[in-house]
Symmetry: C2
Subunit: 631 residues, 2 copies
Amino acid sequence: MNQLTNLSPAEVSAQHEQDAKDLTRILPASNKVYIEGSRPDIRVPFREISLTDTPTGLGGEQNLPLRVYDTSGVYTDPNVSIDLNKGLPWIRQTWIEERDDTEVLTGLTSKFGQERLKDIRTADIRFAHIQNPRRAKAGKNVTQMHYAKQGIITPEMEYIAIRENQRQREGVDMRQHAGQNFGAQNLREITPEFVRQEIAAGRAIIPANINHPEIEPMIIGRNFLVKINANIGNSALGSSIHEEVAKMTWATRWGADTIMDLSTGKNIHETREWIIRNSPVPIGTVPIYQALEKVDGVAEDLTWEIFKDTLIEQAEQGVDYFTIHAGVLLRYVPMTANRLTGIVSRGGSIMAQWCLAHHQENFLYTHFDEICEIMKAYDVSFSLGDGLRPGCVQDANDEAQFSELKTLGELTHRAWEHDVQVMIEGPGHVPMHMIKENMDLQLEVCKEAPFYTLGPLTTDIAPGYDHITSAIGAAMIGWYGTAMLCYVTPKEHLGLPNKKDVKDGIITYKIAAHAADLAKGHPGAQARDNALSKARFEFRWEDQFNLALDPDTARSMHDETMPKEAHKSAHFCSMCGPKFCSMKITQNVRDYAQNQKNASASEEVDSEVESGLQAMKNAYHEHGQKLYHKV
Amino acid sequence: MNQLTNLSPAEVSAQHEQDAKDLTRILPASNKVYIEGSRPDIRVPFREISLTDTPTGLGGEQNLPLRVYDTSGVYTDPNVSIDLNKGLPWIRQTWIEERDDTEVLTGLTSKFGQERLKDIRTADIRFAHIQNPRRAKAGKNVTQMHYAKQGIITPEMEYIAIRENQRQREGVDMRQHAGQNFGAQNLREITPEFVRQEIAAGRAIIPANINHPEIEPMIIGRNFLVKINANIGNSALGSSIHEEVAKMTWATRWGADTIMDLSTGKNIHETREWIIRNSPVPIGTVPIYQALEKVDGVAEDLTWEIFKDTLIEQAEQGVDYFTIHAGVLLRYVPMTANRLTGIVSRGGSIMAQWCLAHHQENFLYTHFDEICEIMKAYDVSFSLGDGLRPGCVQDANDEAQFSELKTLGELTHRAWEHDVQVMIEGPGHVPMHMIKENMDLQLEVCKEAPFYTLGPLTTDIAPGYDHITSAIGAAMIGWYGTAMLCYVTPKEHLGLPNKKDVKDGIITYKIAAHAADLAKGHPGAQARDNALSKARFEFRWEDQFNLALDPDTARSMHDETMPKEAHKSAHFCSMCGPKFCSMKITQNVRDYAQNQKNASASEEVDSEVESGLQAMKNAYHEHGQKLYHKV
């Protein structure tokens, strides 16, 4: 089954069981809660983390549960039973039907899709419950942008407004620094109408194919929480369908807002079906990868017809956004000749190869309006690919890269004329001081269409740690205005990520995205920091772990140093040992400050200073002044 | 022996053997080389990484070895035999003696040092080859700053000039983006005279106690390469002397430029002696920790006399810089009362406790000139501690923090009046958009004395990953002008770091420091990125691993996905599999661009476009155009 790890069937089966357990285990001290919108079928999920009370000696107050954004879907809802063979509930179905602008087809309309359905060799790996696909009625446009431009607030938009607000209970510490957001708009409250306006203006997108009714709607735009994407996908060399579905659920469990399925191996079509049917988050793909498979890997054999059939095939499965490298123009290709690392985007190099071989303009560019016609019949969003992104620090911000970006700006406008939703992909490898130029140019030429960047990696010298080299760049560009960050795992440049790598990549990118939210001053973003820091200060270790992005790792790292149960609840910090308990001292400082305040109100100022100081000293000694707590 | 991991004696012994092997194993494909200065005893070490030739099909040129900065000392010099019991060679001894301004004392002058020497209980753990300490002759000042102000270029300064230049051979790709350095001065070549000027101006320090003749001199200042510090040290709860020495050599092996020994457990004095005698890099300490041990952990029992004896004790052992929390003034303490996490610096909280208990001004502040007198007799540098640094995002940049920073500015001037070298410690927890304010204020009030920051951590919500939350802030503040970054390990807030955590922290901070060097445009910084990216582009996998900050991890991650030897040398990237070889395509692009250039020179422009395009197509097909290499 797994040619990479050479597991026996028994081991594979054990692995599957473990995956299934991991899948549905809710994070510690957490409950799934739903906030209902204006109608009962708008039920927006949150994870609510319960907290313990402050110890009596430190004030004893109650700490209210904290609500956090939850991408894990119903996998972590104990009231829903999961069956991967059947897929997730169709929560958007009614909304789509109510709009009455789509029809259910009698079958797949792509040639390839039809062939695969008939292929008996793939019968045993085929998802069993495939439904007939849905498409816009003739003359209809079913994109969220189209509705928004007409002033319609869809249930998806309302759902998102509730989700972005992360409403906390009264009494949660919502203090926060004013952010610096470079012209992004941060509201106190995000309303459904605001969501509609942002979608209408093209400043945000809701990737939501009508054939993916399973998704919990989410938004990508710089006036919202910064999102992250995780790439999964098998390759010619490795991994099974099961593993890819497990990676998807694993990634959303830890916080992936969207998933890109970049499979390039065999059975791409079937793998994708399994992933989409079981995914609570939008799925993106790069259709040119599959198109290339169909011509046996020979780029020059690609045709518009094969590509078009692939778009329809994937749109009818429910892919929510397509990466399309339509900005790789023939005349830009020679600009990469003197680069240190040439063209490193797979899609970019395929199109460059095609352009050179045929001496014609990129067919994705010349057929762009026809692509838009397909996109709007299913509401697939564009992720306009940066096929000429730099592959090393030296090639950053060069003529090839920025020429393509300007073309992406032109294509954005063309897509918007069709009311098709668009985001723009960005670099790559860029040293820190050259990052902002990317963001500024993107905002200018793409008129604030959401930017979606890979990293950027801020140095080339750390293979094995490129989640970190890139998290630095990702946090910065997120702060500057990038709406979604594509994760990079530690295996980048080295190999295909395993489960641990996927998690490392996700947590690292959750950090980058959250750091960006804080810097932008996104409303409510700091509540989790405040709650965790208060828990830390009060030695509520369990609360500190439970509030962490990765409770499991935080807990196990702590247990490693503090193995005994007695120590675990110790009122001192393991870094310092029992003698240095710096946080405890603050209690003394607070007592002192309070006394000083009381005292200064009742004292003569000058002559009595000396006796006042003496009084303070006495008061301090009366007020505990103990450095250390007994456990 | 190890109460944390409960190892048996045999296991401990095996661990020691492994440590010893790790210690002296040179990194793969690397040679220790020395560049000689103006005299034969100035021999500056570099690690030279050998590279293979470019494959014939891609041009076949020779790739010259790359020299990189090397902090690992003679441990990685196969011509030097290591004996931890005897310590490292005294490479600075002659330089110190030649200056003829110091005398060898007849014995330790600190009361505590004398007592410990007589204590038979510690005889078996005492370093055997303790020498009599050295001190400035009466009336002499032996600081590097003192020499610099008099126009003297010391051998240490010349050594550093050679080291910072990282001279590469003619022919190495030195292309680099112009940096943005916020007023720092980047020279094409760093001369000994420039080093002298920077030291004289206080913009850089050379931590180099006359009792630490073992160190390979290094410099900390914003016009030089950004440095990193690693903290080690036992606590009341864990780890042995052996483990601390092993951590030190392990840390310098991976790139720590200085080490802080933050031990708080028993046998601090003896542990420190072992570390210093075996350390090729400067050692810093926080003397108040040991002073507190001497009064059994009761902060209010601390006295100036006990502290002073501790300074002398440690100065005579050879500590190169002292963290002194002299800016925690009595009047600032109440400013922390309303903080979310109060005072989190251990030193800061000890001094706050003392101030409150006695109702007197911080004795480190009132005795500051006497401290300077001790510092200049041994050339110990100040690291003025930020005792009121913020412990969470909410407390960043508050009145307490910035009030202390202003006092540190005042103390900087007082130290400079004594010609004592100074750097300034900085935060802490700071969201991204509030980082620059820290740097700007520090530069202003401390007149460009080097800034030395912990992180800063850009969010509080990721315990277990604070090497990453802080690397984001560290890279940014390094770019803005911070001279040295204090590493944070994944165990921060959770427990004491083990060997793996130390390495993770180091590599992460090497990334942050290097990203900052690139952004500042430090001369030659990009050479390693260029070499690695070229190796990547040319599928020279082994060179890519060997040029990595952590060759072992890069290699093992790659081998994990590509287990077979045949695959390892495969001319395709494992992320893409054999069909998508995007980098290979660039060769085609180069051929094409060359042909186009040739063609456009000889063609009529307008009417012949069509036939020209056809000609290009033919030329392309003639020139290989193959996507894939056979292995």
